[in-house]
């Protein structure tokens, strides 16, 4: 059952991930990415990482992609459709893909996949909390600084428009 669900959601995720690239309309691409994120969230759930799975939906599917959609919808979509295929970019992208696959092929055998996962936590929200505020307190504060920089950056970039 779990294995079957894994394959279903993995196929969903990869299929819509490919659709993000191949679909012509940017709105369709963005929505495919949403579905892909939902598939990814389901995969997290299947790994018993409930908190991460739900956060994946809450932050990525529910917040980041809304922003994407906002921006795409307000663009002039007709120029987007008329765009020609950019050959150097295609070749560059293809090279990155080939490199990534080569890396995977080289690295994957070194993982012991048959080994069972770590001891499964009963309540993963609580264990995330406990770890976050004991071992990872400093990284947590650094995230705060990162978010601060992002906030300031956003406001700064749109400063011209605000006046």
């Amino acid at each position: 059952m779990e294995v079957a669900l894994f394959w279903i959601f993995a196929a969903l995720m990869l299929g819509f991930g490919a659709a993000v690239i191949f679909l012509k309309s940017p709105v369709s691409s963005a929505l495919s990415l949403v579905v892909s994120f939902l598939g990814l969230a389901a995969l997290f759930l299947l790994l018993d990482a409930f908190f991460i799975g739900i956060i994946q939906v809450l932050v990525y599917a529910g917040a980041v992609m809304v922003l994407f959609l906002f921006i795409i919808m307000l663009l002039d979509l007709k120029t987007e459709r008329a765009r020609k295929i950019n050959l150097p970019a295609m070749i560059g992208g293809l090279m990155v893909v080939v490199g990534f696959v080569a890396l995977l092929v080289k690295l994957l055998p070194s993982f012991d996949i048959a080994k069972p996962a770590l001891a499964r936590p009963v309540n993963d929200v609580a264990s995330v909390g406990m770890l976050l505020f004991s071992d990872y307190n400093l990284p947590f504060q650094v995230i705060g600084v990162l978010l601060l920089v992002a906030t300031v950056g956003v406001v700064l970039l749109s400063r011209k428009e605000l006046k």
Binding site: A126, G129, T151
Partner: protein, 124 residues
């Protein structure tokens, strides 16, 4: 437990199925009317629609969406914090309170900056 999510999966199937069935029923049962050119146009209070350019939008809509993402991440960190808060206090003391307070204060600098620059002002 993973098995607890099985009912949710079934619930999703029921909800999606329901939405599909009513729309299909509507197509099957709904009366088919005549199509006219006027009926096919977008509604603009009875006036022939102006096919002008797409409306331009205030940058504030993006800004709000972007700030929402940033503060949403802050909220996300607060859930595990709230869940373990009382246990943590009992075991290790007040560190958890101060660390969340400093996190939020760091973010509030950004918030204050956005407010000062008028990023959330819609009046003008």
């Amino acid at each position: 437990m993973l098995i607890d999510f099985l009912p949710i999966l079934l619930h999703v199937v029921v909800a999606v199925g329901f939405a599909t069935v009513v729309l299909v029923l509507n197509i099957a049962l709904g009366r088919a009317g005549k199509r006219t050119k006027i009926k096919d146009t977008a509604y603009e209070c009875g006036v022939i629609p102006e096919p002008g350019p797409q409306p331009r939008f205030s940058v504030k809509f993006y800004l709000v969406a972007m700030l929402f993402i940033l503060f949403d991440i802050e909220v996300v960190f607060m859930y595990p914090w709230a869940v373990v808060y009382r246990d943590y206090i009992a075991q290790h003391g007040m560190l958890i309170f101060w660390s969340m307070l400093s996190f939020v204060i760091i973010l509030l600098f950004g918030y204050a900056y956005a407010v000062k620059k008028g990023a959330l002002e819609w009046g003008r």
